[in-house]
């Protein structure tokens, strides 16, 4: 809770700084289609699996943008659901909240947890754009860079302890670099994340193999097919901290479609590998985002 308050204090401080930096008339909206990205599994502006350096919403430096989202991933032995909301301020700061549900369904009984046993995780995120410009600076290879923090709290502390996890909450820190290469119609992102999370925190933090932060990579590469449609692939490495429960890297093939500036749909084929002893967790990822 102390960590959460500290993170919230940081976010409020950043907002104040951004507000003071640019006084004057507010203009909401006005960003170009898809250039704010979509909302990823942790509620941050990005692709599906990766957090990007872009700031969520269609606001420019002169305004405020916001999104709500719902995401589901149907896997052979589990279901994942998430919903949340995010705010973008002056294309500079993003704050987000997502509530994730990792539903073990019938598999819960096989794991001895009980049928339909579900882990819930709250993810509070804040992101600050620190350098570069992904969209306008097309005469430079320098990407837009943002730093972010995600405070995560899982509601199944007792089970996490039982499976060898060390904590039911944790904080991820990341640095994201994103660039739109208009000349090639490409969108590229590379993000480094310092984390102790097991399956992104759905199975807690730290474990018998490792209880330290490790540096993980997540990235996206997409091709703009039309101004409304981005198709691509993503990859996300994972720490594999738990002694008994192996975790694999995540990957997906995605298509993000902006119906307009208020609604976008992301569909992906996600491969999450082995999850809690069940191998081959591949399935459909579907996410709907509405906002301005």
């Amino acid at each position: 809770m102390k960590r959460l308050l500290r993170a919230a204090g940081l976010a409020v401080g950043l907002l104040g700084a951004a507000g003071a930096a640019r006084a004057g008339e507010m203009v909401n909206g006005g960003k170009l289609l898809l250039t704010g990205g979509v909302t990823n599994v942790e509620g941050a502006g990005g692709g599906g699996l990766a957090s990007w350096a872009t700031i969520t919403g269609y606001e420019t430096v002169d305004g405020v943008g916001a999104n709500v989202h719902g995401t589901m991933v149907n896997l052979p032995d589990y279901d994942f659901r998430a919903y949340g909301a995010s705010l973008g301020f002056r294309d500079r700061i993003e704050v987000s909240y997502a509530r994730q549900a990792f539903d073990t369904g019938a598999t819960g009984a096989k794991l001895g947890l009980g049928s339909g046993f579900t882990f819930h995780q709250d993810v509070f995120g804040a992101k600050l754009r620190v350098a570069g410009d992904a969209v306008y600076a097309q005469d430079s290879w320098a990407p837009q860079v943002a730093v972010g923090v995600q405070f995560k709290h899982n509601d199944r502390g007792a089970i996490i302890k039982a499976i060898g996890g060390k904590d039911d909450s944790g904080v991820d820190y990341y640095v994201a670099a994103t660039k739109v290469l208009l000349n090639q119609s490409l969108v590229l992102d590379g993000t480094l994340r310092a984390t102790k999370a097991n399956q992104a925190g759905l199975l807690g933090f730290g474990g018998g193999k490792k209880d330290d932060y490790s540096l993980q990579f997540e990235g996206s590469a997409g091709l703009l097919v039309t101004k409304r449609l981005l198709i691509g692939a993503e990859y996300r490495t994972k720490p594999d901290n738990l002694a008994g429960l192996k975790e694999d890297d995540w990957m997906d093939l995605f298509a993000a479609y902006a119906v307009n500036k208020h609604l976008s749909i992301t569909a992906a084929y996600a491969d999450l590998g082995e999850v809690a002893t069940f191998k081959g967790q591949r399935g459909l990822y579907l996410s709907l985002q509405a906002g301005f």
């Binding site: 004057g24 002169d62 097309q138 101004k227």
Partner: protein, 163 residues
């Protein structure tokens, strides 16, 4: 008679544009140095890009359509109301022709000077980009080629947006 013809020629030779407009309908602007560097980006080499825009005739249609859309666009009404549209159409066509490799010279002002008193913000810059995208769509310019031109124009955000 000779003097009135000679003076503009001398000024042009010195690299200064004569303040009198080339087309009667254009309003005069403050004198400035004419240079292709004013176009704000290096042109494409080869003839592929111009072909993708259906030649100079296609570029003219795209520019006219973009200006028409922008004049009628409530987001841009304030800016375009105060703009010399005759001059804008001519210089934009030159600029796009030049950038797309048509071998045409750009005789307009640099982006900073041309926009310095317009108080354009990012949302307005983007609104113009959207109108350009619509105009290119209507002309049937391939999406890849559209983005290649936009890649040349996007950095001009730095000089065009002043607030």
């Amino acid at each position: 008679m000779l003097a009135t013809r000679l003076i503009p020629t001398l000024i042009a030779a010195a690299g200064l544009a004569w303040a009198a407009p080339a087309i009667a309908a254009e309003k005069p602007v403050d004198p400035y140095t004419v240079s292709n560097a004013n176009a704000g980006a290096q042109p494409f080499t080869g003839d592929q890009m111009l072909a993708a825009f259906h030649g100079q005739a296609g570029v003219a249609r795209v520019v006219d359509r973009m200006v028409d859309l922008s004049v009628a666009d409530p987001r841009l009404a304030e800016i375009f109301h105060a703009t010399d549209l005759e001059r804008l159409r001519r210089t934009l066509k030159e600029q796009f022709d030049y950038l797309l490799g048509a071998g045409v010279d750009y005789t307009g002002r640099d982006m900073k000077t041309a926009h310095k008193d317009q108080g354009i913000n990012t949302a307005e810059f983007n609104a113009l980009v959207e109108n350009l995208q619509k105009a290119m769509d209507q002309e049937g310019v391939a999406f890849r080629a559209q983005n290649q031109l936009l890649a040349k124009l996007a950095p001009m955000h730095r000089d065009v947006v002043t607030r």
